[in-house]
Symmetry: C7
Subunit: 96 residues, 7 copies
């Protein structure tokens, strides 16, 4: 809307991830850690499938300007892996 | 939104649980007890399946800052068990 | 929201019941009687199945602070029986 | 909400009826006559099945305080019959 | 709401018709003609089935006080026929 | 609402068309041309099926007072044909 | 609404594309680049199918006045191809 340079840079405001995690840490701890990532304001996690050693989960992460690099790093640190990036919303204007 | 340290700590605001309980206490008493847990403001319980000795229920628990540890403890005290954590919402900002 | 002791007591605000009733009293009279129970503000009844002697009905009862004990007593007095409690909402804060 | 005796009497605010009517009067005339009943403000009629002599219709009748007795009397006077009462909403407070 | 005699007469505010029409006039012309009928403010027409000589259409006609007699007359004048009246809304109060 | 002669003339405010077009012009160019037609304010086009020579598309065209004659002429000029008029909304009052 | 020449030129406000891209760049980078295109304010990307060498994605791109030419050029520059244009919204008035 405005020519404000800040608002015209692309910002990642939503990302949907298919993630494979070990049973520990629990979904509560796992989601809490992800919510600490820069630019993240909300993490919604849903359990999709339970296997012997792992859980398939679907993450919907929202924020004003999510740092995907930091997000992926945190996921790995928690012993999990991004299986696929299933959705992305990038915005240039201030309204979400 | 603000740099307020309080609002930037992750808060568990919603949790969906698949729980196995005995027929007694009733769904009304069971839900009332859970709603007393710190940080919980609303408990929605739905009966999923009735077996000879047990009921499978689905709990959707909402609050500003739910203590999962206390929640799990209360569930056990009521003779029930968390079968799985099916969903979680964690938030860092004040808006819910 | 506030530390008001009144608002922090669990209140049953919604209950979903699967009830077996005789054909008489009619669904209109039956629902009217239940709506008189303390703390009830709205009774929605739906006819699910009609048998030779009985009707299966689904009740969705809402209120600010429903007394389940009185509700169950009234249901029995009307010649009906609670087959199962299928859903419950308990709240601790004032907002519904 | 208030202790107003008026607002705390149960009022029938919605009723869903499965009705069998003859082809004449038409659905338009039939619905108009029912809307004249005391306490009725809206009649929605849907044709469900057409047979040689009769129409099965589904009526959703809404109002502030519907008199079921008068409603049933009017239905009979129009040569039709209530096959079943499929749903009912009774309310005690002023809000609908 | 008020004792205004005008507002307490039943008014046909919606009617759903299953109509069989010839291919000519087109759906645009057919709907325009119907919208000219007294008390009609909106005509929605949907093509349901196309046969060699005829079109089956579904009409949803809305207005403040639709004259069904005039509506049916106009439909016949356009070479079409009401196959069935599938739905009706009659209202007594001013709010729609 | 008013006796304003302008507002009581039937206006075509929505039309749904099943159209067969050649691959060129593209859906973007095709829709832009249609949006230039008198009385049109919005054109939504959806690709339904792709064949060797042609595309089946579904058009939802909205406006305050769409000229169907001009719309059809423009469609033909673009090398396409109206396969069927699947829906129409005609209104007499100002509110849409 | 007004005779303002600016507002009466057709503007592409939404476009839905079926795109085939290589695995690199990631969906995050790909969407960010597209959001930089003139007139684009929001890019939503969804992963539809993963093959050995390519990803099928569905893009929903929104903006006030999207330049399709620049959009297509950017998609090609990123090593991807528009498989089909599945939907388009063109508007002439200011309201979206």
């Amino acid at each position: 809307m405005t020519g404000d340079p800040e608002s015209s840079r692309p910002r990642l405001t939503k990302i949907v991830l298919d993630v494979l995690k070990t049973h520990v840490p629990s979904l509560v701890e796992f989601s809490s850690e992800l919510s600490r990532v820069e630019g993240v304001s909300r993490v919604e996690a849903e359990l999709i499938e339970v296997d012997a050693e792992t859980d398939s989960i679907r993450l919907v992460i929202e924020g004003d300007n999510i740092s995907y690099e930091e997000l992926e790093k945190t996921i790995k640190k928690l012993g999990a892996a991004v299986h696929s990036i299933d959705g992305v919303v990038v915005q240039k204007t201030g309204k979400r």
